[in-house]
């Protein structure tokens, strides 16, 4: 299928929607909920009703947020609607009519107050470095560097995801990369607000982060979070001419191709879960697989649903804030499919996927480990 998609506005696209139901069959939340209103085509009709002035309640509009923004619907859409754009604008319409779920208002207030969705003090953003036994004296916060590692809220504050940040800085050190983190100078990239339909509130965050990156003189910004990378590519890149925005796996594949790292055997059966925002929405399929292929001893098994057809972990699109139980059901289903490959380890390349799939495996397939790819690489480097 062609990658070409279109977006002429909410009303036009809601009319162009053929109601064919291609989107229905791949939607991870529709499969769980089952009602037509929770199918992408049903959500499009809800928006059409909303725009036509039908009185709809916040409860009814919750369907719009029972969506992980995984992009699978856009990938199969028979009329080639850019559904990611559609969902973002539809959510903005919902916000403007004060029909968005309460949990998102809390996230917005947290970001406004602290600079992160969790509501933690932002000066604790690099707290994970302080707990590293071997952290350098500068705590990886340097005035100038070639590369900025934009850590993201999840890897800064979530205990499980902090291990990803730790592993990545160790790997960067092992690869002798000149890099810095922004510490408390970093604030939320703004994606959770954009996904909530609160684009305007994201602007101050964008301006703040841009300024901090410019100050370092870096030519590359690298992300372990695919959603941060997407956000930077879509909303920041035009303000940063000549600066490369890479996912960690892209940088690592590049570094390892230029100079192999001294990797030890990892004798485990590993499958790879394509994060939606890195793969289907972000176009990065090969770099993670190249990194995995370089790890000796590792037995790699592909899941049938991969690359463009990769399954969603349930953790995207702010779903966790709106309907955590639904996010969990999606995670369990996906974890089960991944585990059915016979893998001992589910590798992925996204802190949110790691968090949700780790909970999914606990419930559905206990004993199967979930690791970010940089954690596996750190293990292979024995660091």
């Amino acid at each position: 299928m062609s990658d070409q998609t279109f977006f002429k506005g909410l009303m036009d696209e809601s009319l162009i929607c053929a109601y064919c139901g291609y989107c229905r069959t791949v939607c991870p939340t529709y499969v769980e909920v089952g009602w037509e209103s929770c199918s992408p085509r049903g959500r499009i009709q809800l928006i059409r009703l909303l725009l036509a002035g039908t009185p709809l309640s916040a409860g009814q509009m919750t369907r719009l947020y029972q969506c992980t923004l995984c992009g699978h619907c856009a990938q199969v859409c028979s009329t080639r609607i850019d559904l990611r754009q559609f969902w973002l604008e539809a959510r903005a319409q919902t916000v403007s009519r004060e029909l968005s779920p309460q949990g998102l208002a809390t996230a917005r207030d947290n970001v406004a107050r602290t600079g992160n969705v969790y509501g933690y003090q932002n000066d604790e953003r690099a707290g994970w470095v302080e707990y590293m036994d071997d952290a350098p004296a500068d705590l990886y916060q340097r005035d100038q560097a070639e590369v900025v590692y934009f850590v993201g809220c999840s890897s800064s504050f979530s205990p499980r995801a902090q291990r990803i940040a730790e592993s990545f800085v160790r790997v960067l050190d092992a690869a002798q990369v000149s890099f810095t983190i922004l510490g408390e100078g970093e604030v939320c990239c703004g994606f959770p607000l954009l996904a909530a339909g609160m684009h305007d509130q994201a602007q101050t965050l964008i301006e703040h982060n841009l300024e901090r990156v410019r100050m370092t003189g870096a030519r590359t910004v690298v992300f372990t979070c695919p959603a941060c990378r997407m956000m930077w590519l879509e909303e920041y890149a035009r303000h940063l001419p000549g600066i490369r925005l890479l996912h960690a796996t892209e940088l690592l594949a590049e570094l390892m191709a230029a100079r192999p790292l001294p990797l030890k055997d990892v004798n485990r059966v590993v499958t790879y879960h394509d994060p939606c925002d890195l793969a289907r929405n972000g176009g990065v399929y090969d770099a993670p697989r190249q990194v995995l292929a370089a790890i000796p001893g590792l037995q790699f098994v592909e899941v049938h649903e991969r690359r463009e057809r990769g399954l969603c972990c349930g953790g995207g699109g702010d779903l966790e804030m709106v309907d955590p139980a639904l996010a969990q059901r999606v995670a369990q289903r996906t974890a089960s499919k991944l585990a059915a490959t016979g893998a001992q380890v589910i590798a992925t390349a996204c802190p949110q996927c790691v968090r949700t799939l780790a909970r999914g495996t606990e419930q559905a397939v206990p004993g199967v480990e979930v690791k970010d790819l940089v954690e596996l690489l750190a293990e292979a480097l024995d660091i």
Binding site: M1, T25, L49, S78, T79
Partner: protein, 483 residues
């Protein structure tokens, strides 16, 4: 709560007004003025059974209470086949999905009815097998849904319609009994093919499959003459080895794609009128390598100009995406037809003449689905936001059906809207036979009432013909393309 069932959890039943509204439409939106005065399309409740027993329970209750039941899965048709017209309960069977069990030795597979054709083929391909045929809406169309409809599409040219591939069906009959039907049973499974859910609800399907083809090859030809295109499709459909499928399209179809913003494989003149004679033919062979190679030899006798192989592969990869044409709309209406292949060129020329005369954009594409029969779709853009214009465009569909009837064609599928064409679809004896089956299996008339067997007002032949003629004339005036 509108209904309760001992074995169905309450969270599988809804009477929420917005939810019910979403179940009162299918692919083709129809203005309220044509619907509300005559039909009750809003169901009283929607029920989502989780298994065959729950389906049977709902049907049993419905028969007892005389409540209409409309089975629905993907709802990817456009004649209200899955939309209630007398209220009642919509039975959303989408949770009866998966359950794929391959019998490799017998080359058969069992599946639940709401599995899509894409899913079934994908599962079979992993085990070295493939479905024999599938609809051009395979991503969403379900196995049970296609059995309930006419069941012809890609692969039908080589392997026949889905009815020919069936081994058995499990059906929830209107009395609530779950019965497995075969060709020898009473009633036989043939009764349920194309019955549009009016005799029961399909809850399980067993059908024959084929080994995954060892080779496939796709070839795209450009034609400068629609008669030659039609004759070539007809000739190739009877050739040996038989192609897996033959797709064809005229320049109007390509114009719709171009207007929608898509790349097209042919250069067309900048002006729409006079209409180009150009057309495309995509021939696809699948099977053993030797068979596919012999197919390539056959194609050397085609009169068209063969286009580069990457364009052929691109057309093949887009075989489930003809609805891209809807971007030329925003609305798109269509006449979907059975057409004798020996009249295909004649029909394409007649559509071209009608479009040229009236300065309308009409695109036609189709598939050869039997050695003597094509499944044809003639599409035209419109805009449902302009009610008068849209009503006129709806009426114009009959003009295309009339045109096809003059070429020996007839509508594909019945549902509600095509019941106006019943005399073209069935002989009196055939219709009597269908009504006898209905009376025997569904004496209370609860299963998908208002479909298939008789036309309701305003779809009576006289009122419909008159109304459609007037409205269609309106489209000729209002739908005119600007020079």
């Amino acid at each position: 709560m509108p209904a309760t069932f001992p074995d169905i959890p309450v969270n599988r039943i809804t009477d929420d007004p917005i939810e019910r509204k979403l179940y009162s439409r299918d692919l083709a939106p129809v203005p309220a003025i044509l619907v509300k005065p005559f039909f009750r399309t809003l169901p009283d409740a929607v029920i989502r059974p989780g298994n065959a027993e729950q389906v049977a329970e709902v049907v049993r209750q419905a028969a007892r209470q005389r409540v209409p039941v409309t089975p629905r899965a993907a709802a990817s048709t456009s004649y209200y086949n899955t939309v209630p017209v007398r209220g009642g309960w919509v039975l959303d069977v989408n949770d009866l999905r998966g359950g794929i069990e391959l019998d490799a030795a017998r080359q058969t597979v069992r599946t639940l009815p709401a599995t899509t054709w894409f899913e079934l083929d994908d599962a079979l391909q992993q085990k070295g097998f493939a479905v024999k045929s599938y609809p051009s809406s395979a991503v969403s169309a379900t196995i049970g849904g296609w059995v309930s409809m006419q069941g012809h599409g890609l692969g039908s040219l080589k392997y026949g319609g889905v009815g020919e591939q069936l081994v058995s069906l499990q059906v929830a009959l209107p009395d609530g009994e779950l019965r497995t039907v075969t060709r020898e049973s009473d009633p036989p499974l043939d009764w349920f093919v194309a019955a549009e859910g009016t005799l029961g609800v399909i809850t399980g399907v067993e059908l024959t499959v084929r080994p995954r083809p060892a080779a496939e090859s796709h070839h795209l030809f450009a034609f400068d003459d629609l008669n030659a295109l039609g004759q070539s499709v007809a000739w190739l459909s009877r050739a040996e080895p038989r192609p897996f499928t033959i797709f064809f399209a005229d320049s109007g179809y390509l114009r719709l794609l171009a207007r929608g913003g898509f790349h097209i494989p042919l250069d067309l003149p900048p002006s729409h009128f006079p209409i180009s004679e150009k057309g495309l033919l995509l021939a696809s062979f699948q099977g053993e390598t030797s068979e596919v190679n012999r197919g390539k030899d056959v194609l050397t006798r085609l009169p068209g100009q063969e286009l580069p192989s990457d364009l052929a592969l691109e057309e093949w990869n887009l075989r489930l995406y003809h609805l891209r044409t809807k971007r030329a709309g925003p609305s798109l209406l269509a006449a979907e037809l059975w057409l004798p292949l020996d009249k295909l060129g004649h029909y394409l020329q007649a559509v071209k003449a009608l479009a040229g005369r009236s300065h309308l954009l009409i695109g036609t594409y189709g598939l050869a689905v039997a050695p003597d029969m094509a499944l044809v779709m003639s599409l035209y853009p419109t805009d449902e936001r302009h009610t008068v214009k849209y009503l006129a465009a709806i009426g114009f569909t009959k003009w295309l059906h009339d045109l096809s009837a003059r070429c020996g064609g007839r509508p594909y599928g019945v549902g509600l809207w095509n019941s106006a064409y019943l005399p073209r679809l069935f002989s009196p004896a055939q219709l009597d036979e269908l009504k006898k089956r209905k009376a025997r299996l569904d004496p209370t008339g609860i299963m998908n009432p208002g479909k298939l067997y008789r036309a309701s007002f305003p779809l009576w032949p006289v009122t419909f013909s008159l109304g459609a003629a007037v409205l269609g004339a309106g489209h000729v005036m209002l739908g005119r393309e600007r020079p």
